[in-house]
Amino acid sequence: MKVTPVPVCVISGFLGAGKTTLLNNILNGDHGLNITVLVNDFGAIDIDSQLLAKQEGNTISLKNGCICCSLQNDLVFELQALLSNPDGPPEYIVIEASGVSDPSKIISALKYPQIRDVFQIDSVVTLIDVQTIQDLEGDVKHLAMSQLDTADIIVMNKVADVSKADLQRIHDDWLYPSARVIETNYSDVPLDILFSLSGRSKALMDSSNLKHEHSHKGLFHTWHWKSDQQIDVTKLRSAIMKLPKDIYRAKGVFFSDAYPDERVVLQVVGARQEWSKDQYQNQDRQSQLVMISMKKEVDMSAIQEQLDDCVLGSIAK
């Protein structure tokens, strides 16, 4: 029996980068999800007191979820244990990586064969404190590189505290071509970008066939692309690598004669593109791609052209 994998959001960043603020924003958010949070130790977190319900053993119960202080043990075992929770598996998991540990270890563990079918990485967010990042040296600098490397989305936090020029320097010194960056203060990250499952994020992805739509008080824009013809998947994969950097999420299904009984599925979360394929026997073989940006003016003409260029011709019936 195929189970629906539990989505996992991993938050990394140094102490003081704003992880706890983000965590509080998440726990206070109206995403409608019951969230289980895994942290390294309770001492390092400072959860809004009105959210707390009770603390028992290594778990703090919250009004809309719980926090387990258990990352000091083996993450794989901890995650497996969550699945056998008598109240059922968690709806959504947020892992707050310790400020001193390498988040790539968490990401690797989530892909181990024993758990990769039951958990799915929804997003990996790395917060950077723009006030301090330029001063890092040695092992701490190495760790920052690993945090940035692992990130689907990089949150440059506290941007109001530095000049435009300094901000640009951080971009030049630290970021990479495929980086998806959100500049914020107070870790104010739109949760619809972080969570694929939140009500609005789902609504955005599943919405109608409009070519271009904007919603959520103008914060998000979506673009749709579709084709009834078969697709050159190899070409498509390199086209998707060139998505505009303002696209934070995308989701698509594609059909090709190379995969006659399957459909190719794409999930884009920030800088990460996740391809998969699954069995598909249905007659309806329309390829579709929906993309979400956070900026109003995104030049989609180039990507439109590249996507059109992946169309091979009519699908064999």
Binding site: N58, N73, A81, D102, K105, Y112, D149, V233, W275, K277
Partner: protein
């Protein structure tokens, strides 16, 4: 030691009427209950031929006797470290593997370093460290087999990333390791694959890099020899005369034999052949166990033991417990081998006189191990083979008398029994088990044999740290009043654990381990008397001034043998 070709036999033994060496004016703690203290010892042909006062031994002196005045220094039998791994700690660093010695190497620096190494080294494999994924991302390059293939196709390449979270291999390395789209992922790791084609990308994560190791040539013999030589050198400088190198293969045994033949085997070494291939492959395991191991045998070296990992670790909650882990309904930890496997193996090896050393951190694993030994006793009868329960992090109280009854040695490794990050992780086992952690005292009081192993590189190879901490159960390395759970042992008990009990665990207690007439002349001279100092914070810093094994000087800080035919084997302590 093979190069001392002066063996004794029934009708042929060296005369022992006069002393070659006489140490006098010492405070000699013998660990012999019939004569706990003496002032002088006389040594001939590597054996104590007299212990007592100088006056009592005077008749053993002739014109060739080397008389050493200890000037009141403290002397005791040499130490035994019953579980350690110099090869694992040192050999990789000595192997001459590729080291891209740059702070944050860019892809082109990685490429240049690989090509330069390739041109300078004839070994087919190019293995080493490290690349940084982030620098590849900065340049928009994907670190995969195709990138490596683009400049080096004809030699296998495998490079670790900086955090050792993955290894990057080229197509030839994957091919030699037989890694294809059909290869199954190992536990605790995976082969990164193209999501649509399933083809390996060349990135192997965590446990998956062992797939590459298996295909690589073994650690070069020069690196293994240097590692063991440095390990022995360090151990001699800390007073170790007996040790177990737990986990060896045919290459490691070859390295140890080379050191033995060069006269540098400065401790009695028991080398335990790995039962599993989980650290490195043992290609000649069955030949070794069938009898090939005897080719390595000397008075200083034997390979009459095997080592296996029965369960996991407390840190990963894979220690196999007698009940479920805290917070779990069913999870008791994991066994790497079935109890039936262990029982059959134990009965078989026991019959052949081979010691079985079992990694058992959880109280459930040691319970099963003792059951297997009990079955071996039932089938084979009492035969004197002493098996060894390694680590023994947690033992059930009910099992304490079984160590004596079944003649099993309980071995404890130090970083666990004083407050340290390891010990704290091990406390996750639940409060009710805390009093039973590292229960030296329980084993001793029940009549059993407890020993200690440094388990380097898990903790440091200096045995004095654990020596102190088993008496204080406090962290010797930091100034803190925190005391670790469990019962401490007395200094007398600790000395016996470090000496005679070690000899017992190696099966040589009739010949060594205490200062007695007829026993091997093994002793150490210390800078201070442990009975007269404050143990806390002090004992672990003890400097060993002289180490002797079979009358041979292996370490000599006070230079009493300088210029003699018995000059110390080692002159300088390696800096680990």
């Amino acid at each position: 030691m093979k190069n001392m070709q002066n063996f004794s036999s029934t009708n042929c033994h060296p005369t022992m009427t006069t002393a070659e060496i006489l140490l006098k004016n010492g405070k000699i703690y013998t660990v012999n209950s019939d004569q706990p203290w003496c002032e002088a010892v006389a040594i001939s042909s590597g054996i104590f031929i007299g212990t007592g006062t100088y006056e009592e031994l005077e008749s053993l002196i002739d014109e060739n006797t080397h008389i050493i005045d200890l000037q009141g220094q403290f002397v005791m039998p040499g130490l035994y470290d019953m579980h350690t791994h110099p090869d694992l700690a040192l050999a990789p660093g000595y192997a001459g593997y590729l080291d891209i010695a740059k702070e944050d190497p860019t892809p082109s620096e990685v490429k240049d370093a690989i090509l330069q190494y390739a041109s300078e080294n004839e070994e087919r494999w190019i293995y080493g460290q490290y690349f940084v994924k982030y620098t590849f991302k900065r340049e928009g390059i994907i670190p995969d087999r195709y990138w490596l293939d683009s400049f080096i196709k004809d030699r296998p390449v495998a490079i670790h990333d900086r955090s050792w979270g993955c290894i990057l291999a080229n197509s030839m390395a994957l091919e030699l390791a037989n890694i294809t789209k059909d290869t199954r992922d190992p536990g605790n790791g995976y082969i990164e694959r193209d999501p649509l084609s399933g083809e390996p990308t060349g990135i192997l994560v965590d446990g998956a890099y062992s797939l590459i190791y298996k295909a690589m040539p073994p650690t070069p013999s020069h690196a293994l020899e240097r590692a063991y030589r440095d390990g022995l050198n360090y151990q001699a400088s800390r007073g170790v005369v007996g040790t177990k190198y737990v986990h060896v293969c045919e290459h490691r045994l070859d390295a140890l034999k080379a050191i033995d033949e060069a006269g540098q085997m400065s401790a009695r070494v028991e080398a335990a052949i790995s039962w599993q291939d989980d650290i490195f492959p043992v290609k000649r395991r069955w030949e070794l166990l069938a009898g090939e191991r005897h080719y390595y045998r000397s008075s200083r070296l034997n390979a009459n033991a095997v080592k296996f990992h029965f369960d996991g670790t407390h840190e990963s909650r894979s220690s196999y417990l007698s009940t479920a882990w805290p917070g779990e309904n069913k999870w008791r930890g994991g066994l790497n081998l079935t109890p039936e496997h262990i029982t059959d193996m134990l009965v078989d090896l026991d019959r052949r006189g081979i010691r079985v050393i079992a990694h058992c951190t959880g109280d459930g694993a040691s319970d099963l191990f003792l059951d297997a030994v009990a079955e071996a006793r039932r089938v084979n009868g009492p035969n004197g083979v002493r098996h060894q329960c390694a680590h023994s992090t947690n033992l059930l109280d009910e099992n304490l008398p079984r160590f004596a009854a079944l003649n099993v040695t309980a071995e404890f490794s130090p970083v666990g029994w004083y407050p340290s990050s390891f010990a704290k992780a091990r406390q996750s086992v639940g409060e009710e088990r805390w009093p039973r952690m590292y229960n030296f005292k329980g084993v001793l009081d029940a009549g059993g044999i407890a020993v200690m192993g440094t388990d380097w590189p898990v903790s440091h190879i200096n045995p004095w740290v654990g020596f102190e901490a088993m008496i204080t159960r406090q962290n010797p390395l930091i100034d803190s009043d925190e005391v670790f759970s469990g019962v401490a042992v007395s200094i007398e008990e600790a000395i016996r654990i470090m000496t005679l009990n070690g000899a017992y665990a190696m099966g040589v207690e009739e010949k060594a381990g205490s200062i007695e007439v007829g026993k091997s002349a093994d002793l150490i001279v210390l800078e201070h008397n442990p009975f007269e100092i404050e143990i806390r914070g002090k004992l672990h810093q003890t400097q060993v001034q002289l180490t002797m094994l079979q009358g041979q000087c292996t370490w000599d800080e006070i230079e009493v043998f300088t210029g003699s035919a018995n000059e110390a084997v080692w002159k300088e302590r390696p800096n680990f």
